[in-house]
């Protein structure tokens, strides 16, 4: 094959997060409406590799993805060896808003998957004016722990292999082999206890059931896309959000699971394109003088 570079750029951003200096890995490509992408628990920005390479979308959108601290190529803060990693709603929100500020994003679209799809609901509730739209992938208000997460972090079980084993079934059976195993590789590379620490947010602290009905889609439109094979955040969980949030819109994606952008990128983009087109069109409509 002919060698080539992808159109995206990866850089390290230095900023304070949660009161400590951090070195954060950020990828971006394209120009136009900022689209801030949030990866799943225990993974990293590589999940958005297809979106960051889609020439059509990059004409209209500046796609940005960053690795959460402790994930991917973002380092944990100095002194990490003395702490247990555990993601709280408060910290997760604070990290996202601080990164958006540091990048000087003007009312970006936020799109997150799984834990990112959950925090997207928190963003819609807490900061509707700061985002022009929110896209929740595999979004649900809460997930009860359905397995014992202590298996994810103990020295007599290989962390990477058990994390991949836990999530392997969340990928739809029909997703292509290469993309399936790329997605699992990301899980195999997570640091010790990081997936488990993210699940503290997903299965405990991030529960937004009691407040989700207060999301005002007039102030910030909310689009939800969920794969039919996702048994973690199920289509029923997402459809329940539509029942409870006035104006929220959901599409159940056929033949996709919990990692749509990574497990079968082209199928996912066929569902995402119409949503992005609506975001783009509504922004354009706003700019037309009356």
């Amino acid at each position: 094959m002919k060698s080539y570079f992808e159109p995206l750029t990866g850089r390290y951003l230095h900023l304070n997060l949660l009161g400590k200096p951090h070195r954060l890995y950020v990828e971006e490509a394209g120009q136009g409406i900022p689209l801030l992408c949030l990866h799943t628990a225990g993974a990293d920005t590589r999940q958005y590799r297809a979106l960051l390479n889609d020439r059509e979308i990059l004409k209209e959108f500046r796609v940005i993805a960053f690795d959460l601290p402790w994930h991917g190529k973002s380092s944990p803060p100095a002194g990490w060896q003395h702490t247990d990693y555990r993601l709280s709603s408060k910290d997760y929100l604070s990290i996202i808003m601080d990164v958006a500020d540091a990048l000087e994003l003007d009312r970006p679209v936020a799109m997150g998957c799984s834990i990112g799809g959950r925090i997207a609901l928190h963003l819609a509730l807490e900061y509707p004016e700061r985002f022009r739209a929110i896209i929740g992938l595999e979004s649900g208000a809460h997930v009860d722990a359905y397995y014992d997460t202590t298996w994810l972090h103990r020295p007599d079980v290989h962390g990477g292999e058990v994390c991949a084993g836990i999530v392997s079934g969340l990928i739809a059976p029909s997703s292509p082999e290469a993309e399936r195993w790329e997605t699992l590789w990301h899980y195999m590379q997570g640091g010790p206890g990081i997936f488990k620490g993210d699940l503290f947010f997903y299965m405990q602290d991030g529960d937004i059931r009691a407040r989700v009905a207060k999301i005002d889609t007039q102030r910030c439109p909310l689009y939800l896309l969920t794969g039919e094979y996702d048994y973690s955040c199920t289509p029923e969980d997402t459809l329940d959000l539509v029942q409870r949030i006035k104006g929220a819109e959901a599409t159940i994606m056929k033949g996709l699971g919990h990692f749509p952008m990574s497990e079968d990128p082209q199928k996912f983009l066929s569902y995402l394109r119409p949503v992005l087109e609506r975001v783009r069109a509504s922004g354009a409509a706003r700019q037309i003088p009356k």
Binding site: Y146, Y147, W151, D156, V157, H158, E161, V162, A164, G165, I166, S168, G169, L170, P173, S174, E228, Y229, D230, Y231, S232, T234, P235
Partner: protein, 120 residues
Amino acid sequence: MERLAELVNADDRLVWKGRFIDTSFLLEIGETAYLIKVAEGRIASVRRGPFVMPSWDFALRASRETWERFWLPLPPPGWHDLFALVKRRALTIEGDLHPFMANLLYFKEVMASLRPRETN
């Protein structure tokens, strides 16, 4: 179930994945129980119950209907993975789960090996 040993043992990569496993586990398909012995990643034996005093490290128990759905060539959502079955309370996994969890991808693949292969 008769073909389990043949299917697993013919898959060199799967046997390699399980190279550190020496365990016996109980598989219940409704009323029917099987005792499956794994030695260095190979299925050493599959015995059909009933048993008088079976010894095993862990057990997988689900109804016949559950396993039939799980083993469809393209299983429906929620019936396509062991943990999907656990979440919907259709499968219980109990006992000493260490060999199972430490080799989760292996055991998922062993159980899925009974699924007819799709021919594209």
